[in-house]
């Protein structure tokens, strides 16, 4: 059954761990993460700052900082091909053509000294043998797709607004029609009205090219709007994953997920205050024993401090918590 799922999956991450090694300490940024993304599916990767979302994305791209970031275990397979085993040159060929990434801040992700056309054409030339005229034509088409007039391609990034720049960045990322697009908080730097526009445009393009997408965000509203499945990260681990329905409608949740939802204002429920999660995420250089969430968890028991929980699975929904794996029989949670 697992094999069958693997065949459908475009991206398959198994037991991935990533460390940052500095002179002072070793930071375990990603710990034993397993994930899969199916063709045409959008996966929302949710978690607070420092949970390892971006590190996970960078390790897929093979762009971990040199001499600091290391894959210590696991495999990242795209179409069954282990990316970690490829040479730098082979990775370079795949980047942009098979998988591509959109960065957080559109203000800084375009080169100020190159026109928009040059930057999009650069991606095209890197992966195809096409003439300048063909590339120019293709640039026109792509810009049209992201809703920018083709005539503006001769302009420099500083002549565009933030939302427009993010459209250009998306155009660059989609220029070679990659199978997988990783979007690292693509709308965080934009204001709310533009956010909605850009998100719906990304969704349309994704459907048009049948691209799979990993949407990194900490905005649960964005997840509900465009994702098919969700993985929630905490302290480098995936503590809960499932379809959007599993996460939003299920009765069973990881206490951290409960806390996440408690931290956003709800228009329908009448509460006096938000109930944020107390405390901070543990230092990734000095991880907790047992469950990584035990120091902040309102339902922590003695076992949580000793034994790392395994996954409780219910169909597509899996939760990494002792409450559901049968280690703690009495569920004290009555929310």
């Amino acid at each position: 059954m697992i094999n069958e799922a693997n065949i459908n999956a475009l991206l398959n991450i198994e037991d991935l761990s990533v460390e940052y090694r500095t002179d002072d300490a070793i930071f375990k940024a990603v710990n034993n993460v397993s994930l899969e993304v199916k063709r045409g599916e959008t996966l929302g990767l949710v978690g607070e700052t420092g949970a390892g979302k971006t590190t996970l994305a960078l390790s897929i791209m093979g762009l971990l900082p040199k001499n600091i970031g290391f894959l210590t275990s696991g495999r990242i397979c795209l179409n069954g091909q282990d990316l970690a085993k490829l040479s730098e040159l082979e990775m370079q060929r795949l980047r942009g053509s098979s998988f591509s990434m959109i960065f957080q801040d559109p203000m800084t992700s375009l080169n100020p000294l190159m026109t928009v056309e040059e930057q999009i054409a650069e991606v095209l030339h890197a992966h195809n043998h096409i003439s300048k005229e063909e590339a120019s034509k293709k640039v026109d088409e792509i810009l049209q797709l992201v809703g920018i007039q083709a005539g503006r391609k001769v302009e420099y990034p500083h002549q565009f607004s933030g939302g427009m720049k993010q459209r250009v960045v998306i155009a660059m990322a989609l220029a070679c029609e990659p199978e997988l697009l990783i979007a690292d908080e693509p709308t965080t730097a934009l204001d709310v009205t533009i956010q909605a526009q850009v998100l719906s445009m990304m969704n349309d393009l994704k459907n048009k090219f049948n691209t799979s997408m990993i949407m990194i965000t900490h905005d649960l509203g964005v997840v509900a709007a465009i994702c098919d499945s969700v993985a929630i990260m905490y302290s480098g681990e995936i503590i809960e994953k499932g379809t959007v329905e599993d996460i939003y409608n299920s009765e069973k949740h990881h206490p951290y997920t409960v806390g996440l939802f408690g931290s956003i204002p709800n228009l329908t429920k009448k509460t006096k205050r938000l109930s944020p999660i107390e405390g901070l995420m543990p230092d990734s250089a000095d991880l907790l024993k047992g469950c990584k969430f035990n120091d902040r968890c309102p339902m922590a028991q003695s076992i949580c401090k000793e034994k790392e929980p395994s996954y409780y699975t219910d169909g597509t929904h899996s939760i990494k918590c002792h409450i559901f794996t049968g280690e703690i029989y009495k569920i004290t949670n009555k929310e």
Binding site: F103, L110, T115, A126, V154
Partner: protein, 298 residues
């Protein structure tokens, strides 16, 4: 209806590209001192390039006319003549060519090798960075005029050796400067974005990193040419640089210094040439620095 019309006129807008270079030029043009520097520098460059058309080198600059030794400035000899009856104007004009070629070639080579070394150090990092930086630090610990002297002693006197010595003694400063400015650019998101699109390392360095890191080099380079011209003149003056009868500005000062009291013109004109060229380069450098400073934008 109005909306449609508005849309149509919107479509007709001619989008203009306004490059960073045109911005810099606009700001540079506003600075009077920088424009003065540019004009003087252009004149010097024209003189250097067309020296042979202005006065012939062999027939005038090197021609010794003993009947007209130590003549004062006149319509025949604009700057007068020296102890051997050679026309000073011709010698200063050809001196311009020699001084400027030493300045530009030395800085050209120093900047090019500095860019290669500095960019490699910054982009590669790790032990490559350590080795390059340590070598550059070691070279910088020797005063550059002493280093140039030592190189001249090893290579022998002459204009091309002087240029080599100047290039070598200037390289470490450029390497350091480029390393620092590349380091600030490497972390920019557009470099990661280019990588994420599968752009090759070489292209990233030449299209994304260097153009964005080159600003300080332009300023430093312009001013360093002035320093090289002065240092080269100094070395020639003390006799280890360009050798007489080649009319380098420093050489001209050296060979005429005995006549300072009687024929001041023999020292004033080469001296003025050194001062004016250095001044123009420094003024232009200052203007460029202001024009490139992002804090002073608009």
């Amino acid at each position: 209806m109005e909306k449609v019309l508005a849309n149509q006129s919107f479509n007709k807008i001619n989008y203009k590209k306004r490059s960073q270079a045109s911005f810099i030029w606009k700001k540079l043009r506003k600075s009077r001192t920088a424009m003065f520097g540019l004009v003087v520098l252009t004149l010097f460059l024209l003189v250097a390039i067309f020296a042979d058309f202005i006065v012939d080198y062999d027939k005038v600059a090197l021609y010794q006319d003993y009947k007209h030794r130590l003549a004062l400035p006149s319509s025949d000899h604009l700057f007068g003549t020296d102890n051997y009856g050679r026309d000073m104007f011709a010698r200063v004009v050809h001196g311009t060519r020699i001084s400027f070629s030493i300045g530009f070639s030395a800085i050209g080579v120093a900047a090019a090798s500095g860019i290669i070394l500095g960019a490699t150090a910054a982009y590669r990092g790790g032990w490559v960075d350590t080795i390059i930086t340590r070598i550059m630090d070691a070279l910088m610990s020797i005063p550059s005029i002493l280093l140039a002297l030592a190189i001249m002693a090893a290579l022998g006197a002459g204009a091309s050796n002087l240029a080599i010595a100047m290039a070598l003694s200037n390289t470490p400063q450029f390497a350091r400067l480029i390393r620092a400015s590349v380091l600030t650019v490497v972390d920019q998101e557009y470099v990661s974005a280019a990588k994420a699109c599968g752009t090759s390392d070489i292209r990233i360095v030449f299209k994304h990193i260097l153009p964005n890191a080159i600003g300080p080099i332009m300023v430093k380079g312009t001013m360093a040419i002035a320093t090289v011209i002065i240092t080269a003149a100094g070395l020639s003056f003390i006799g280890v640089g360009v050798q007489p009868p080649t009319p380098e500005w420093g050489t001209l000062l050296a060979e005429n210094r005995e006549f300072m009291r009687t024929n001041m013109n023999l020292l004033v004109f080469p001296g003025l040439a050194i001062v004016l060229s250095a001044l123009s380069l420094n003024l232009l450098g200052d203007g460029l620095r202001d024009a490139l400073d992002p804090r002073l934008k608009n």
